[in-house]
């Protein structure tokens, strides 16, 4: 066996956080209010188009749970110049891929295609922004489809949508923040074409959306196409977005759910964190903290819960219900979840997690550990930015949530600037505040 001195192959020089490649951003706002971000980049002959509407699960009215997501499905059911299925056929038949997704604060639609299909993609997105086909027939069809989506992801499997569907009920109080974003079947089944028309009218106005285009195109030509196809979408009034923030918890909360299909327990913990938009400087240390606690084999919780104390089968700590720290506004939270053997109690796990937070709070974060975490953060941001779709989506989300597409480009430097003391202070704040605990108990017998 070769004897190599370990230090011989491990660089001792600190790794400097690399920056994202420069992407010049061009912006315009159409007369109808549509905000447009153009991010040309000719490294590969592909383009991405992303349309973000400023409406998500949190905006659903009572009695219409799941409507934002159902509506996202219906937006693929045809528009004035594209019969049902034609949107998919035009994008895929051009050599591209498409999808849409519904989040707490926005709903997005996106395509990645060969560069020569850009004009066609813009035409397709503009057509459904102007006039989607909202018929009872297609709504009924998509209600069936969404019910099967819920069965496959939630009802027919153990740990379905745990904890994103269940933890909010413990962590928050308002209907906007606690209700089931996938939707009750009763609510879904009663959805009508009138509801859809009203939802579209209220939330899908061009002034309530952001269009981002990234990849291999000329700015002048793209501007002309954007103006031609999106410019004709008639301006409508944009909705006033109510604040979704909630006051801090005044006591620890605890709830249990029984999962009839699970044979081993799971645990989720949620804490409130600062406003990720209006109080970004206070929020960023929590992003670094979540990475330090839970990302990679070197993290504190992986070391403690998996390798040292053997308390968990798996662990994860992350910001935001869906694990993206930058895709939600206030209120949002830091989440922890673990699967664990029945012999381990939830209390043991909670104690271990709180111990580790306390250790960061009181013992601080050493230079080497902070450098490791910053290197991991930098690497992950760079990797996300490599695909043209990832870049384009981050520009659209930055523009919609933070009011600045440039936010995505500035993020690596801002995170690299988070000091060890701020991370320790964030951990101390979490220890000082109240938490929401959700235990999943197995109902299937081990």
């Amino acid at each position: 066996m070769p004897v190599v001195e370990a230090t011989a192959i491990v660089a001792r020089v600190p790794v400097r956080a690399p920056t994202l490649p420069a992407h010049p951003l061009h912006r315009l706002t159409l007369d109808n209010g549509l905000r447009v971000v153009l991010a040309p980049d000719s490294t590969a002959p592909v383009v991405a188009v992303a349309v973000y509407y400023d409406v998500g699960m949190r905006s659903e009215p009572m009695g219409r749970t799941g409507f934002a997501h159902l509506f996202e499905h219906v937006m693929f059911q045809g528009s004035a110049h594209l019969p049902k299925l034609e949107h998919a056929r035009q994008v895929q038949g051009s050599g591209g891929v498409f999808n849409g997704s519904t989040h707490l604060d926005y709903t997005n639609y996106f395509e990645v295609l060969p560069a020569g299909a850009l004009e066609r993609a813009l035409f397709c997105e503009a057509d459904r922004m102007a006039a989607p086909l909202l018929t009872q027939e297609t709504i009924d069809n998509q209600i069936d489809v969404v019910k099967e989506e819920i069965r496959v992801n939630v009802l027919n499997r153990p740990y379905g949508a745990f904890p994103w569907l269940q933890l909010p009920e413990v962590l928050y109080d308002t209907f906007a923040n606690t209700h089931n974003g996938y939707g009750d079947f009763v609510d879904l089944e009663s959805a009508t074409a009138d509801d859809a028309a009203q939802f579209f009218d209220s939330y899908y106005a061009p002034g309530n959306a952001v269009l981002a285009v990234g990849g291999d195109f000329g700015v002048e030509r793209a501007t002309e196409w954007v103006s031609r196809y999106f410019g004709r979408v008639i301006a409508r009034s944009t909705p006033v977005r109510p604040p979704f923030g909630e006051p801090a918890l005044t006591e620890d909360r605890h709830a249990e759910v029984i999962d009839p299909l699970a044979t081993t327990p799971a645990l989720a913990i949620g804490w409130r964190v600062p406003d990720p938009v209006d109080d970004l400087d206070a929020y960023l240390p929590y992003v670094v903290l979540s990475e330090l606690m839970s990302d990679s084999d070197a993290s504190r919780l992986e070391q403690r819960l998996i390798h040292r104390d053997h308390l968990a089968i798996s662990q994860a700590m992350y910001l935001g219900l869906f694990g993206d720290p930058f895709d939600a506004r206030n209120a949002t939270g830091l989440m922890f979840q673990a699967h664990h053997a029945s012999q381990t109690s939830a209390a043991q796990l909670i104690t271990a997690v709180e111990d580790e937070l306390a250790s960061v709070a009181s013992g601080g974060v050493g230079d080497a550990e902070l450098a490791r975490v910053q290197a991991r953060i930098a690497a992950q941001l760079l990797r996300q930015a490599d695909p043209v779709l990832g870049r384009t989506q981050s520009f659209a989300a930055g523009e919609l949530i933070h009011g600045r597409a440039e936010f995505a480009l500035e993020l690596p430097a801002r995170l690299a600037g988070v000091a060890a003391e701020s991370v320790a202070a964030a951990a101390a704040e979490l220890r000082a505040q109240h938490k929401a605990v959700l235990e999943l108990k197995p109902g299937a017998g081990a």
Binding site: V10, A88, P114, E148, R157, D297
Partner: protein
């Protein structure tokens, strides 16, 4: 609402102002074909490097063949592969688990190790400046992973728990049932390690298996990113110099025939949905009709604009995400068709799927269908190889069948030349209901009666 078909739209809709017509597609400039630098290192390790400096990162893959020799060793090989991959980063001759994890994270890396029926796979991305560190640590792991006994014992328990959890997931149950039906005595029938075999594994066994099987000959190192290929080859040569072993090729058992008659029904009492799984033999990437089969697969169920999606989802609302695809494994290729459908419509969904298979097998596809599938196949190939990670994974997968990057160019040419008659011929051969096996996992009390009207029901093997 307009009623144009797609071809009419493409030609322009004269009833409205000219700019309301669907814009034309412009022929995009061709993407740069990946220029791969390949080298076989003195120890036999095949190395493939591509410069792709889109972000200052590097993707690294190391694929090591680990097939089971035959059905008798399949259970042991699968269990050992799983526990080895879970324990391999628990320390080396120079570093304990924590030190190794820290040194990887310090250069932005998060090395993962996975095992399947064909291979072990190491995978990570790393900051450009950390590539030599990662190659050094990877070499340290393959030459001196220590498998500390106490840690391996704890991981064995955790692996057992993870397997037990996986066995409660309907998608896992369905995959296992279809693999048993298709592969019988072949090692591929073993898609999940047996709990009892895992429970009996000792650290010493892993150390011995590692010594015997983790060898450079037949392995492939793939590096894609912001690198100078010549430098990477030098770095790899030096890093892996002490990783040696005999020039022995691991043998793969050919896939067996299976009996396609009847529907296997796996009872899952209380299920609110049925997992329909269909499968059968396919041709692999080296075969002259592979491109035609890929296009036939797309038209049938391989993308959203397929017949299967239009029928099951968009017309009938039976399912959320029906899909078909071709799995390319070392021992052979397989066509796989999946749909998770509401219990009440299970038999109707199977019937509609068979109906669409019959249409593929018996009648020609349209020119529009073929053109769309062709553009999709070419476009998504360009998309998937436009990123460092996508290119690295594609090349690693090709290496699994002994194929190099030049296959991508050959495949593009083959796709461009596929005709309607080609699609018809491969569909008749590979998409005939009579040559495919059907498996359903669901609540037998709800689906048995109606499924039985389609075909004889078989008990899971």
């Amino acid at each position: 609402m307009t009623t144009e078909t797609s071809s009419e739209l493409t030609n322009g809709d004269t009833s409205e102002s000219a700019d309301m017509a669907l814009p034309p597609l412009i022929e995009a400039r061709a993407g740069r074909a990946p220029r791969a630098v390949s080298a076989t290192l003195p120890n036999g390790l095949d190395t493939l490097v591509i410069r792709r400096p889109t972000v200052p990162m590097v993707e690294v893959r190391l694929r090591i063949p680990l097939p089971a020799a035959n059905s008798a060793t399949a259970a042991a090989t699968t269990a050992r592969g799983s526990l080895m991959s879970a324990s391999m980063l628990f320390g080396t001759a120079q570093r304990n688990q924590e030190r190794l994890a820290n040194d990887l994270a310090a250069v932005g890396a998060d090395l993962s190790v996975s095992a399947d029926a064909d291979r072990l796979l190491f995978s990570t991305a790393v900051l450009r400046t950390g590539l030599s560190t990662v190659l050094g640590l990877l070499a340290e792991v393959v030459t001196s992973a220590s498998y500390p006994s106490a840690e391996v014992a704890a991981e064995r328990d955790r692996l057992g728990q993870r397997i037990a959890m996986a066995l409660t997931q309907p998608a896992v149950v369905a995959r296992m049932a279809r693999s048993r039906r298709l592969f019988g005595d072949h090692p591929y029938a073993q898609t999940m390690p047996d709990l009892s075999v895992v429970a009996g594994l000792e650290a010493a066994t892993l150390r011995r298996t590692h010594r015997d099987r983790v060898r450079p000959y037949g392995a492939t190192l793939v590096v894609v990113g912001d690198v100078q290929p010549a430098t990477v080859v030098r770095q790899a040569t030096s890093a892996f110099a002490d990783w040696v072993g005999p020039a022995r090729k691991s043998r793969v058992m050919p896939l067996p025939d299976f009996d396609p008659v009847g529907i296997t029904l796996v009872d899952r009492p209380g299920a609110v949905q049925s997992n329909v799984r269909i499968g059968g033999g396919a041709v692999g990437r080296r075969d002259p009709v592979y491109a035609a089969l890929q296009l036939a697969n797309l038209i049938f169920g391989g993308y959203f604009s397929s017949r299967l999606t239009e029928n099951l989802r968009e017309r009938n609302g039976f399912t959320y995400s029906p899909h078909s695809g071709i799995d390319n494994s070392a021992a052979g290729s397989t066509i796989l068709i999946d749909a998770d459908v509401a219990s009440a419509v299970t038999a109707r969904a199977v019937h509609e799927t068979w109906y669409e298979l019959g249409r593929m097998a018996l009648a020609p596809v349209t020119q529009d269908e073929l053109d769309s599938a062709r553009r999709y196949a070419l476009g998504t190939l360009a998309l998937s190889t436009a990123t460092q990670a996508g290119l690295a994974s594609t090349l690693t997968s090709l290496a699994g069948q002994g194929l190099s990057a030049s296959w991508l160019t050959d495949y593009q040419k083959a796709v461009a030349g596929v005709t309607i008659a080609d699609v018809q011929a491969v569909s008749h051969r590979y998409l005939s209901v009579s040559s495919l096996a059907t498996v359903v996992v669901g609540d037998a009390a709800l689906v048995e009666n109606s499924l039985g009207s389609l075909a004889a029901l078989r008990k899971p093997g």
